[in-house]
Symmetry: C2
Subunit: 161 residues, 2 copies
């Protein structure tokens, strides 16, 4: 979908949510939503804070956290925690559902798209539970680290002799 169209829709959805919940439509809230949907994919709070400042719209961190809470509630943003004590976020609307490959060595994160897996998971009925979304994290070694560790292990074996 064309990004202008996406922007239009998410702004509309956010407005609906704010209205329904009797929240105020502040410029800060819309500025944050629009920055997230302009180009950011995965991001943490610090990079979002800096990006806001860079585009000359200073908001406090408190407002950033408040707004993110709202965006999570209305499913316009997803939150991830990959093992470190740092939360990552990503846009949720028109964002091809993907899974995440996390390297336990260098902590890099790679997106992993797999339509079949997606439909299998989403179509599963679960008793006494009403699902809204899901996260699949696959942990392991990225190719770079797998190679490095192989070499390192060889060296260790040599040292042992």
């Amino acid at each position: 979908m064309d990004n202008d169209k996406v922007l239009e829709i998410v702004n509309q959805k956010f407005t609906e949510y704010l209205t329904e919940n009797k929240c105020r439509k502040t410029p800060e809230r819309y500025a944050i939503l629009n920055l997230i949907y302009s180009d950011h994919r995965h991001f943490d709070m610090d990079s979002l804070y800096k990006a806001m400042t860079e585009q000359n719209f200073r908001v406090s961190r408190a407002t950033l956290y408040n707004t993110m809470q709202l965006l999570l509630e209305c499913n316009l943003v997803l939150k991830h925690q990959f093992g470190q004590n740092l939360s990552f976020y990503e846009r949720a609307y028109n964002n091809d559902m993907h899974h995440h490959l996390i390297c336990t060595n260098c902590h890099s994160i790679r997106e992993y798209k797999n339509a079949e897996l997606k439909s299998i998971i989403q179509n599963r009925k679960i008793k006494n539970f009403t699902p809204s979304h899901y996260s699949l994290y696959v942990f392991g070694f990225c190719s770079t680290c797998a190679r490095r560790l192989k070499v390192k292990n060889k060296q260790l074996k040599v040292n042992k002799v």
Copy 2:
């Protein structure tokens, strides 16, 4: 598997790992491993700390974190972060692989076993990635919260009129 047998194996695996990595075999490390495998399923650091104290084996939180790092590295423990800023852990060996259902309203966590889903995910080959384990989190409403929110929504609609 009989729990004594499990205890025997995980202690052996831990010993192997410590030896291979030239780490010391301290009583603290074994006490922590054995407590985790005695009865704890999901737990956080604070409850583990208290449980250690209760069984009259005081360890510092620093040691707890150090040891948990080792147990994660040798795949005897799994770590989860379900959205709050609190890490949960669980034993990994002889622990029927299960998924997690997380209620976004009351934050309760339910285990969800599904062998089919498990084998589909595990058997998937991924290019340039060597997987070790995975986590599938399904977010949504537990039955209790789903019921409560339904009632609440009805009341809201009445109030609007």
